[in-house]
Assembly symmetry: D2
Homo-oligomer: 440 residues x 4
């Protein structure tokens, strides 16, 4: 099986639309790890182990030692932004990482200078962009493709992946122009405003056969036109919305409650954050995009239609408030009203003092590395096994998404085992109790 995966030779270029808090934290971190002064905690590809074979075999290699991923030393970063700050300057303004750490990788960060962004201020009104391309949507797409090709050549990359780390766009739904590749390409020519900036980047990447992952809750590659293009160019896509903070906790906890058949009557979630993301989400139109992405997970996990006595009356409410005193240190508070035996009520309160970009950066890294692996393994189109990283995972049409993070993890791990020709794990384990099995 492994012979089908092309090796990870040469340099991998990771190109990022949106060099804000998440992207600069990712880049600074990878550079620090390369220098041996820090560790890529939170990255499954770098720090995680995977069990192979039976429990008693004690085979638990690191994921990066099991599947042929690009080595961190072979990564080159680039990207686009609506501000012209280089990554050192942008990271300093983002105030996620300490000055001491940033200074240790200053020279590596200063050379990463953003290319001008393809932008439309209607999609993020709270931003004042100063470093943008001009032209019709068709021209912007061509320019982005040129940017990619130039970057690849200039940096001697053998492969490129794109990962959207830009702001959340305002809420929109798919329309007729998004329904097929032909219509989408016509709309590009028409400079149709319904094509969002993130779609321009996705189109450019997929057209070139370059994997694209979407870290924000906007539709982007979730539209038929771009799924069609991904199939056509045999390119992996993964979307959407990095699963960090509160939703991460929700997709950990809700499966646990469901496992025990505990009822849930209400789930109130509030967030406070004070970074640029918080500022953008202070606009109700942008918040709605995020809200839709966050709301779905509970229904998908708890399945009220299958369990009406337990989840039929669930009241789920999500709030995000811009709160400057916290900066990037996002804080969430959840109140969960559950009920157990005979309907007796209980409550769970979770207060998560997290750091938005610290949680997102390793996810961005893993998606970049795994989408590159997928490309080399000839996996194209929707990569459902990457749902593990995403708030609102893309699936084949008609297939309900799996938001349960533990099912997502097994899916990811069994996909890796499958790719490498290892036995899938079912946790049945009756063979450890041989005499029992014999008696069956």
């Amino acid at each position: 099986m492994k012979t089908n995966i092309k090796p990870a030779d040469g340099k991998l270029g990771i190109l990022i639309p949106g060099l804000g808090a998440v992207a600069t934290t990712l880049i600074a971190g990878v550079e620090a790890v390369k220098k041996g002064i820090s560790q890529p905690i939170g990255s499954l590809t770098q720090m995680g182990n995977i069990r192979l074979g039976k429990r008693t075999e004690n085979r638990n290699p690191k994921v990066k030692d099991f599947v042929p991923l690009a080595n961190l030393n072979d990564i080159v970063f680039g990207g686009w932004d609506v501000y012209s700050d280089n990554v050192y300057e942008a990271a300093t303004k983002a105030k996620v990482l300490e000055p001491g750490l940033l200074n240790a990788v200053k020279s590596e960060l200063e050379v990463v200078v953003p290319m001008k962004a393809a932008f439309d201020s209607n999609y993020a009104k709270n931003l004042t962009a100063t470093h943008v391309k001009t032209g019709t949507r068709y021209e912007l797409a061509q320019e982005v493709m040129n940017d990619i090709k130039n970057f690849k050549e200039k940096n001697g990359c053998s492969r490129i992946v794109l990962i959207w780390c830009g702001s959340t766009e305002i809420y929109y739904e798919a329309t007729d122009i998004h329904s097929s590749l032909a219509k989408f390409e016509q709309a590009l020519l028409d400079d149709d405003k319904r094509i969002s900036p993130s779609m321009i980047y996705a189109y450019a990447a997929l057209k070139l056969g370059i994997p694209f992952s979407n870290g924000a809750p906007n539709l982007t590659v979730d539209i038929p036109a771009l799924i069609e293009l991904a199939k056509l160019t045999e390119t992996p896509i993964a979307g959407k919305d990095f699963k960090t903070g509160q939703t991460l906790m929700k997709t950990i906890l809700a499966p646990g409650l469901a496992a025990r058949s505990l009822g849930v009557s209400g789930w109130f979630s509030t967030n406070i954050l004070g970074n640029r993301d918080g500022l953008v989400l202070d606009d109700p139109d942008n918040f709605k995009t995020k809200e839709v992405s966050k709301l779905g997970v509970l229904e998908d996990i708890l399945k009220p239609e299958t369990n009406p006595e337990l989840y039929g009356d669930l009241y789920h409410k999500i709030r995000i408030d811009y709160y400057p005193p916290h900066g990037d240190n996002k804080e969430s508070w959840d109140n969960i009203d559950i009920f157990g035996w005979l309907g007796y009520k209980m409550q769970i309160k979770i207060n998560f003092l997290c750091r938005d970009s610290i949680l997102a950066a390793p996810i961005a890294l893993d998606l970049a590395l795994f989408s590159d692996l997928a490309k080399r393994a000839n996996l194209s189109g929707i990569q459902e096994w990457l749902s593990f990283y995403l708030k609102s995972p893309q699936t084949a049409e008609g297939l309900p998404p799996e938001n349960d993070i533990f099912k997502q993890l097994i899916k990811l791990q069994n996909t890796l085992r499958h790719l490498m020709g290892e036995d899938l794990i079912t946790h049945l384990g009756l063979d450890y109790y041989q005499e029992l099995v014999d008696s069956l």
Copy 2:
């Protein structure tokens, strides 16, 4: 496959050593459910669904409709206690359930009168027992066997299971007398104090081929002598310690953190509760038994030896405080110190306003029903697939326990699928993306 499982014909007697808060909540609840005035929330066997086949098949029967379990209407309850209160009186004193509910099943509860307990006050000094058997340990075991036989005959039961719902015993470890059945039986004759009361019940049950489950953290059936006896009489055993409240949350959350390769430097857990369990645990000797049971789960899930950078320095501390104002309304508070990308620190606080017996009762029910199923399916000895319900699950010698509740759930579900001849589920799911699979 299903043909190998004997049908659940006739009445099932559930006999419980320890008719305190948990047991009376269980009994009152089952009676209320039988009358249609309440629902067995929190019971996987009664309320839970199990997915069969592919996601697109939409086969999600209730567990009780999938495997041949005893029907609640066929259950008869009995038990032993150190106080002579009948179950109505004991439930009233436990103050878990509302008077209105208890009165609705008063006549059913009043007829459940405890048999005298096999007790040794050295194992629970904070209790003042008034309703106990006398005699040597050997004689006590004989009496318990007689109690079981009489109960079975008197109530016309076709099958019996035992489930320990008594208090936590003081801390002890296995010694030579626990190392083989022969030595254990000699020690019974010698009235050796190292045989704890719970072991007497377990011995009596297993000797009669009756399944035994252990809801407390004492060793009980976790000793070689009784494992040997279980094999000899082809009897299922399951231990130990009902997984409720804080440990339940811990085995939900810790796998989530580990899944994401997030580091954990500290986990502080405190509990306050004011019921009889809290009173018993106020004695440091009894608390130690509980502490050992609770401490293990994190190490088993996080595996510091495999992931020293993430979990090597984990400081785990557990406190339980007796706090009368809360009664049975146990409350836990956890502070979890985690670290992510580049070592940056974050904190999670969980405040669980739970109800001890409300969470435990459905677990006791499921263990009773599943251990009866196991017996009928010729599964004997340690039932690792029931780990899902237990804080400190028993495993085959040399096999590390699985404390991750999601692996436990898959194990349980795949065991049921296996018993019923259904395909095991791996969550690989590549076949939903047919063209991808074809290309592999």
Copy 3:
């Protein structure tokens, strides 16, 4: 001094516009207390003590034994509402009190039937009123006065007080028509929409010389016209907004932080509640009224203009979310970002699982009793000493309000001591250390 206070002879009628959750909880409670089956916890007048003289004198009478208040047994309740439910029915729907308690005072509650309300749906759009008076604002005021007189006569009351327990009205500010009594009375005749329903009740009461207290955040008696009328008819007024829950906690905690010169950079407050009040506040126009009332307290206590280094950058945000699963069981969560020595940051989180009406009812009682006392003691106009009970206390023009609950308490207590001719307390206490004093 005491001789100046007229005795509390005869019956006191407490008339309440708005017989919802708060009012019905108040009425049911007072009836239960009269019957000796419950206690008026939370009422300073009934349960509180007041220290008199020096600490060593040990004189700590109950407030009700110190000042001549109306006895609970002499109270008769009545009121107006936009629904025709009697108080028993309304209390049952409010779901604040248990059915058992309500049934014990059922006959007392059923006889309290609301009079038709003076209402204007523009002031509370989320309510569907079905039990309202018709007519111009002038006619409504006349009708309310007739209602009051009829009630007084029918029930044989010697004195009446009014206390507004209706919903929060939409946000409005004082205009020219509110600036003098003459203009206000002309506006009544003109049926000017800028006169809110609560003002009609206040006008009617004050015109008759009847004390009026305002439990909601609408302006009502906070306008020059009605202050003028209160002086004219020598009537006490007290406003506005019962200080319960989160704001109560805020005015307890903020003075503590200020006392220690600890800085505050941010205070985020969120509330979830599911009663009718929550429903009304789900309308942004009504929420704004509440928000303005709640926002002021921190600035008044922390005084950023006097302490710019400590409080100059304070970011204060308040949220209220309608959350039906909790009903009347309001829950608040606060995150407070403070800083200490050398600017080091700390955080305080407060989670208050409170009950809205349970906290408000005794405040309504005390305001009723104290405003009656004020009337008998010839205290007329603004009663600043009742600020203790109010989120947004009324003061003489140009005088900053005191929101610090401890200063408010001293003010209240010293006012009572002053009325009764007792020494004011300064807590100087040097005289306990006589030799020190001698040496000064």
Copy 4:
């Protein structure tokens, strides 16, 4: 009045037994403030204002501009410790302050080198002292007096104060040898082990007429012998136990609940901290001293004997756990079970993420400055007006302590007003409503 206070001319030496986390944070902070690179937040003397006269006068000077305190620039620090590290080294190990700040005042801190400590390891078994004096208790006292005199001369100080910042000693109670100065001095000569190390410092200071404040919960100056000595030498004393963190919150919140006549049935308080203080308190004998100091405050504020219906059944429990992951970042969690109108239950949870030494340092500074003021103002013996800073304030025999922080604040402020000849403030304020007053 002011003429009676001697001016604060010349240098003030602050000598500290125990140069650990609190003392080094204090010293580093004062040096940083002197250099203008930081601010003394949390210090009432430096940052706090005091209102003078009527509200409308707008006289709110800083405390330091109102009373004649020593100027920070005139302060010289010294002290004793059981380790020989200079203050720069000790502060670095304490990990309270950032390296950047410490380096900015490195030269000022390095010159503060501890004198050898008077120590007895029986009083703090978890410490391994390496820098101690030898000799009998009498000899140790003489040496400490010599240390003080030498320090004063060498540094050209006009005045000295001592403030205990050492560890909590094990629990002990006053015995006969502590009952009079004569017996105490004989016990010194006898090298009686019942004289604790902290008493030796206190004796030495008082013998020289030097004010002594006690930041730990050991008795120290709370014994008749040393009170007698303080009177004899006309020296101010203040004890005991800096009021920081959880107890600070408790004495803020409890008065608020009591003000509103809300009942309290339980108060559970737990703390986790990982500094040297936490290590010492991990010894049950030392914890008991702290526990006794912390337990008293609730009873004193709530007065269960006066309010049995509200506070008669209060269950108060306090825990402190050593938790290394948090270092000096002490965290407390409180659950408070309250009840209101008709006995309905509510809960308050407080989670305080504080910093132990950051909260304590400004208290130590204020106590030093105010005890120096007291000396110059001829206030001698117990300084009850400094209760504001202390968990377990000392009072005249037979006088119950005031733990309510707001009464303590008024006492402090009115004492300052009294010393400076300003009107005491009663918050009566009726004169703002002149016409009302006239009518009385």
